[in-house]
Assembly symmetry: C2
Homo-oligomer: 144 residues x 2
DNA sequence: TGAATTTAGTTGACTTGGAAAGTGTTTTCA
DNA sequence: TGAAAACACTTTCCAAGTCAACTAAATTCA
């Protein structure tokens, strides 16, 4: 632990460093498909979850509602998803993957999966498990 | 390890989740002082490093050069740092903390340090050490 | 019931981030 | 030496994120 920096600043930075490397690598590869990382994450969620609202999504992918709205706008105009007003509550919006969206997922996963094994191997399954544990615990921290 | 998501997407997301919580908390608190997290990080670096160039900084804080340039522009107009053309190479720029910048650091640290102990305690020193190890190892990954 | 409040999501103005091209300095090497 | 290449940083232009205000639907409770 470096002592000359404040703890929060240090952890924030270390996490950012690690995150950025993985994020950047993923970004670069997804870009070939014209897909943002967050969009990809949403696509993966919508694949199994059929009645997520914007609010649910915003919470799960940790985006502010306006940011999510605009991302979804882009996804809609790309023909990947479409909005459906929820039955139970007409204020809510459900996102649904289009045919194209589903096709796109398979295309991308085919390419990306290949390198996944490589990354998994590099990190090592033990280390990955530790990482998972710690991230979960830190994720549960309630930092005001 | 969740299996329905690609590994990279999953790790990227987990790291983002953890990072975002700490980053957001720090952001909120630094905002009271009108300081961005990255600016704070730079201020802490400049406190000890006196001949960092823009390039060095960009590498250490993981910012793209144009982004750093603009952040520094803001810091200069806030009177926190000033640019000094390097002696050895007139293309390079050294950043120097101003009196105000130094004063600002002490002000902020006084406030922030208090909560640092609390955060450190919550994470736990053992967990923090593990976190540090893993972040370092993952940080060293060469992801193309 | 119905006026006031809360909630879900969107819009708009503004700020910040990034890729690529541009400027001026230093280095390379024929 | 001096033309070409490499380098350090900045500028420009466009994409994406944030805050605060807004719209419309649902809920509360006097």
């Amino acid at each position: 632990m470096q002592s000359k920096y404040t703890v929060q600043s240090y952890i924030s930075y270390s996490l950012a460093t690690a995150h950025r490397k993985i994020h950047t690598s993923l970004t670069r590869r997804l870009k070939e498909f014209g897909v943002q990382v967050e969009a990809w994450r949403i696509m993966e969620i919508l694949e199994t979850e059929t009645d997520f609202t914007m609010g649910d999504l915003a919470e799960v992918v940790l985006m502010n509602p306006p940011t999510l709205t605009k991302l979804v706008d882009r996804m809609v105009s790309d023909g990947i998803v479409h909005r459906r007003i929820a039955n139970r509550d007409h204020r809510q919006v459900n996102l649904v993957l289009t045919e194209l969206g589903l096709k796109r997922i398979h295309q991308i996963r085919e390419q990306v999966q290949i390198e996944d094994d490589e990354i998994f191997r590099r990190i090592g399954s033990e280390k990955a498990k530790m990482l998972h544990t710690i991230l979960t615990e830190i994720g549960d921290l309630d930092l005001q």
